[in-house]
Amino acid sequence: MVKKQIHPIIRLFLLLISIFVIFSGCSTDDNNANSTKALIQTNNPPPSTINGNEKDQKLVMDVKKKVMSKKEVYDVSVIKGEQDILVAYKVRHLKRFRMKKIEADLQKELEKEFPDEKFTISSDYKIFLESIRLQDKINNKQIPKEDLEKRLSEIIKLSNEKT
């Protein structure tokens, strides 16, 4: 009976592979200090637009007001890009049971009130976090608009991803 034993280096190698598999994935590059607390605190960020013109600014203010008027919602971020408006919000915890319904209602109400706009709304923490990060970038004013637009559409795409 030969005793089969796996060489310790191969063991270590296999272990490392497993860890690598776990922790690889597409990591996001940047981590702005402002966004670190986005999930714990209520941020109440001012709504922003990528092109920054006044008409749009007025529009996003109205959108935010409208969303905040729902009593289940307590923290709202609105970003307007070229075509899309991204609305990310947090739902009061005990109302989260009805989160999907709130989302559907809100979508309907927004489309009714602002029929010309295209809304993407999400109550997902991740989308909220990313929209805060994007707003930081917008306020930074150093980054070209195309990049911001690209990032916005990435976030919108992410929010449509299902399990």
Binding site: G25, S27, L39, K126, L129, E161
Partner: protein
């Protein structure tokens, strides 16, 4: 079915003894077990939540999609704990608290595959990996099939 038949076929002597024996049996500490299961199970879920926030925060996962990597990570941790001989002790201490979370599912698969390595990788590990967890997969898949079928048919015909 077999069980109920067996119960009926017990002789009076056996029934009498069963009652007599019951008195001597050490009762399972149900309340203690439930409290421990609650605490340990809850803790594993909190760890799961932390891992899932980790993926949301540092990787491109949303709350909806973070579930998958979270489950995989928990099973990975379960592999380490099983391999180092810790999980069976947690299991004895926590009961359902460590059996019901996916880590328990992982433990069932991993412990069986480690155990049967002496019989070779094909017949031992391959053949026995799901000897404990297989029933979970079977009943999960079959009940899901029935539920999904009923729901699809209802949606089609009633048009909900």
């Amino acid at each position: 079915m077999g069980k109920s038949k067996k119960k009926k076929s017990k002789t009076p002597e056996q029934q009498q003894y069963a009652q007599f024996e019951q008195k001597h049996e050490i009762k399972r500490p149900v309340v203690r077990n439930c409290v421990v299961a609650f605490l340990v199970g809850g803790t594993i879920c909190v760890i799961g939540q932390a891992i899932s926030y980790f993926y949301i925060y540092f990787f491109n996962f949303t709350e909806q999609t973070a579930g998958n990597p979270t489950v995989a990570t928990l099973i990975f941790l379960s592999m380490l704990l099983t391999g180092f001989g810790v999980y069976d002790r947690i299991g004895q201490f926590a009961g359902a608290g460590s059996a019901v979370p996916v880590t328990g599912f992982g433990n069932a698969v991993i412990s069986a595959s480690i155990e049967h390595r002496t019989e070779g990788f094909v017949l031992g590990v391959g053949g026995n990996m799901f000897k404990l967890a297989g029933s979970v997969i079977l009943f999960g898949v079959f009940s899901a099939f029935v539920v999904a079928l009923i729901k699809t048919l209802i949606m089609k015909w009633v048009g909900v």
